[in-house]
């Protein structure tokens, strides 16, 4: 094999860091942009929790500093309208500018080419373009915080007609329009990523890397990419419809009779309000799987590596992700049980949603099966992986309750929902992300993160998270609506107000704990211990390269001889077997064969 095709790395600053086509650099661009938004979105959460615990009192310290913003008044209080803006922007930022960019933009970009043994993604230029669509979107959404009237305030779901009308006070400002534009750009960035990753995984796998030898992280990215490719364009279309409603005066989501004021100002009506919810959730239910599947993949790798055992039921893991994908396209109606729908449709969506619990359950039992009887190495990444597992179980179980229409009609739009998705997205996905950083940081930056700080961060986050979010289940059952700014206005919520105070203080702890992570990240980047190539004694191809990884990843395209999870193989020279180790050895034996197959 010759190395003729290795181009030298670009030498100019511009091509190295700005318009870079190197998947590792693009991954880092996504990463740092997302970190910035993690801070912004996190601060917004703190502001909201302050208001919910102590409605109407000025936010200490931050209030005065931020009083120039639309959602804080001159005395440093969160205004009622401002609360709506905070809820909206917190959700939007965390989903579209933090979690998806980190999972797909950062981890996907970084790991996929390495895991398939390629030197880059299939279309490096389009990959760069994807980030350069994401960045303007980031600028737009951030700028919307400062426009007159403030940012969007109709919720991250932007239901019509609330978000659709420009003549009423609620969504009159430019905030909502900027929101739509920003999401449109993010959407296309995501589509470009999706088809690039799919092509890479399908077409650029190294010799010997059959489908049965792909690490589960990369399988998860594969399924995620299908969602991105096929569901995101539908979101883009929905955004266009709302955008023309706002800019050109069409009435896609505005019926004739309900809004005479708008009809008088040139609206024809004739639209269908519920259509927004259908189109939006057709995308956004798959999107919640975009938010969790890569996390599941990361957790699978962490758990197998540190249990020093092959993953239990590799094929079942892949099959369950595939069926989550199939079902994921036909369950969107479970967000609309209360919006009004035919009982037959309601039942259909209820059953299909409950079916999703099956593949989720298969995954959980397979993770547990992997841990069973293993000698676990309790490293920081493993602690995060185990946290993912336990939090995902709780979030998945609450999902089942909500899937049942009779129950959901009671708890819809309450804090029970807030608890559910935070258990999955924060408790699940973010723990997997933290674990992923502790695990792959040496590959990304050539140094180890500080293990002690990492464990401290993981423990504090685990405690803070559960103290903050578990009580929300009770709040929801007590009838505490989500997205309200002043719970003390409602008599029936007075008895649970102390719980709100407790939750807020736990949330402050949780927020503060994240500073440990950020400190650890940047401190380790400059001063961490230099990493050897394979610090965790792991199998997959990225660990066969030096740390940090050279420009073109592999100086020789690897040939793959093993599955990704051959740990503790009887008779092997070490308790791990790198995927490209040529000796066939006893790897074909049944004990180690769990990760094999083509």
């Amino acid at each position: 094999m010759s190395n003729d095709h290795i181009h030298p790395p670009p030498s100019s600053f511009f091509y190295k860091y700005i318009w870079s086509t190197d998947h590792k650099v693009i991954g880092k661009q996504y990463l740092f942009t997302a970190f910035f938004f993690l801070l912004v979105g996190g601060l917004m959460a703190m502001l909201m929790r302050w208001q919910l615990a102590y409605p109407g009192s000025p936010v200490p310290v931050l209030g005065k500093m931020l009083s120039a913003l639309a959602f804080i008044d001159d005395d440093g209080r969160v205004t009622e309208e401002g609360f709506n803006q905070l809820v909206t922007m917190h959700g939007t930022i965390m989903i579209f500018f933090v979690v998806i960019p980190i999972l797909v933009g950062a981890f996907g970009n970084f790991l996929i080419p390495l895991h398939v043994g390629a030197r880059d993604v299939a279309f490096p230029v389009l990959n760069a373009l994807s980030y350069w669509l994401f960045l303007p979107a980031s600028v737009l959404i951030f700028a919307s915080l400062f426009v007159e009237g403030g940012p969007a305030q109709a919720g991250w779901t932007s239901y019509a007609p609330l978000a659709d009308l420009t003549q009423t006070g609620f969504s009159a400002g430019h905030g909502q329009t900027l929101w739509l534009l920003a999401l449109f750009l993010v959407g296309w960035a995501s589509i470009l990523g999706g088809f690039n990753f799919l092509t890479t995984i399908i077409k650029l796998r190294a010799p010997g890397l059959g489908w049965g030898r792909l690490p589960l992280v990369t399988w998860a990215q594969f399924i995620t990419a299908v969602f991105q490719l096929l569901a995101t364009p539908v979101l883009a279309a929905a955004l266009c419809l709302m955008l023309v409603d706002r800019l050109l005066g069409t009435s896609f989501f505005i019926p004739e009779h309900v809004y005479p004021g708008d009809v008088a100002s040139g609206r024809s009506g004739g639209g269908v309000v519920l259509m927004w919810q259908h189109i939006f959730w057709f995308y956004s239910h798959p999107a919640v799987y975009i938010l969790v599947l890569p996390g599941m993949g990361i957790a699978s790798d962490l758990i197998s590596t540190f249990a020093r055992k092959p993953i239990f039921g590799y094929k079942a893991m892949v099959a369950s992700m595939a069926s989550i994908m199939g079902l994921g396209f036909i369950v969107w109606g479970h967000h609309m049980f209360v919006s009004g729908m035919q009982p037959v449709m309601g039942k259909t969506f209820m059953i299909s949603t409950m079916l999703i619990a099956l593949p989720s359950g298969v995954k959980v039992f397979n993770w547990l099966g992997t841990l069973w009887g293993s000698s676990i190495r309790f490293t920081a990444p493993m602690l995060c992986g185990l946290s993912f597992l336990s939090m995902f179980i709780i979030g998945g179980l609450s999902g089942l309750f909500m899937a049942a229409t009779p129950v959901d009609i009671f708890i819809h739009d309450t804090y029970y929902i807030v608890a559910h998705f935070h258990y999955i997205v924060f408790g699940g996905t973010l723990f997997a992300v933290f674990g992923g950083f502790y695990f792959w940081f040496p590959k990304m930056f050539g140094r180890m993160m500080h293990e002690g700080l990492a464990k401290l961060h993981c423990a504090l986050t685990f405690v803070g998270f559960n103290l903050a979010f578990f009580p929300m289940h009770f709040l929801g059952e007590a009838g505490h609506m989500r997205r309200i700014s002043t719970p003390t206005e409602y008599e029936w919520l007075m008895p649970v107000q102390p719980m709100n105070v407790f939750i807020s203080h736990s949330a402050f702890l949780l927020g503060a704990a994240q500073l440990i992570f950020l400190f650890n990240f940047f401190w380790s980047w400059v001063a961490g211990r230099r990493a050897e190539p394979n610090p965790w004694q792991s199998n997959t191809l990225e660990w066969t390269t030096p740390s940090p990884i050279p420009y073109y990843n592999f100086d020789k395209v690897p040939t793959v001889h093993h599955g990704p999870y051959e740990y503790s193989t009887a008779g092997a020279e070490t308790d791990w077997t790198p995927q490209d180790r040529p000796d066939a050895g006893p790897a074909a034996g049944p004990a180690a064969g769990a990760g094999k197959g083509h």
Partner: protein, 201 residues
């Protein structure tokens, strides 16, 4: 666009073949997302139409079927000339490629010019996207389709310049074929839009 960095063999012919396959595959995937994009619009059209069938039928009568039929013909013919261009590029026939591309561009322009006249006639009669739900759909669907035609024309024009320099030879014609795939999709979308907007009364 594609850099054959992952191709193990040093053999160039093989690199090209694999590059060709990868690019084409990527294009197909991209087209799948385009299909979903237009499908969502068409679904919205179906829902709105089901809500006000009479009004839709009435409004549709205001459209100019003859112009649209000419446009349909222009686009279908342009798909044919595109196929010819791809075939010529595959054979390394420079003049054939240039001719095929030029014809395709010309027909695309015919489409847009006719569309321009259709639009301005509507505006002239005071019909805008906000007039009613039907015209909302009409302008949205044909507008986005028109943008795709425009993007196609731009891509084809770039190819035309490249092709005239004789770049496409020795079996290298990937960009022509990929752009061709895109162009056919734009054509197919129109084949759906034409009946649902102009013919369904």
């Amino acid at each position: 666009m594609y850099q054959p960095v992952a191709v193990a063999a040093g053999d160039h012919a093989q690199a090209h073949e694999s590059e060709h396959e990868v690019s084409k595959f990527g294009m197909w995937l991209f087209l799948a997302s385009e299909v979903m994009f237009f499908a969502a619009f068409i679904a919205a059209y179906v829902v709105l139409r089901a809500h006000s069938r009479g009004a839709f039928a009435e409004a549709a009568r205001e459209l100019n079927v003859v112009l649209a039929a000419v446009n349909t013909l222009a686009l279908i013919t342009s798909s044919l000339t595109m196929v010819l261009a791809v075939g010529a590029a595959q054979r390394g026939d420079r003049r054939g490629t240039v001719r095929g591309l030029a014809a395709t561009i010309a027909l695309g322009c015919v489409f847009l010019v006719i569309k321009y006249f259709e639009y301005s006639a509507k505006f002239h009669h005071g019909i805008y996207p906000s007039t009613n739900a039907f015209f909302g759909c009409y302008f949205l669907l044909t507008g986005f389709h028109g943008l795709h035609v425009l993007a196609g024309i731009i891509a084809l024009s770039i190819l035309l310049v490249v092709a005239s320099r004789g770049v496409f030879r020795d079996g290298y014609y990937t960009p022509v074929e990929c752009t061709g795939l895109y162009w056919h999709l734009v054509d197919v979308v129109w084949i759906f839009l034409f009946p649902i907007l102009y013919l369904l009364h």
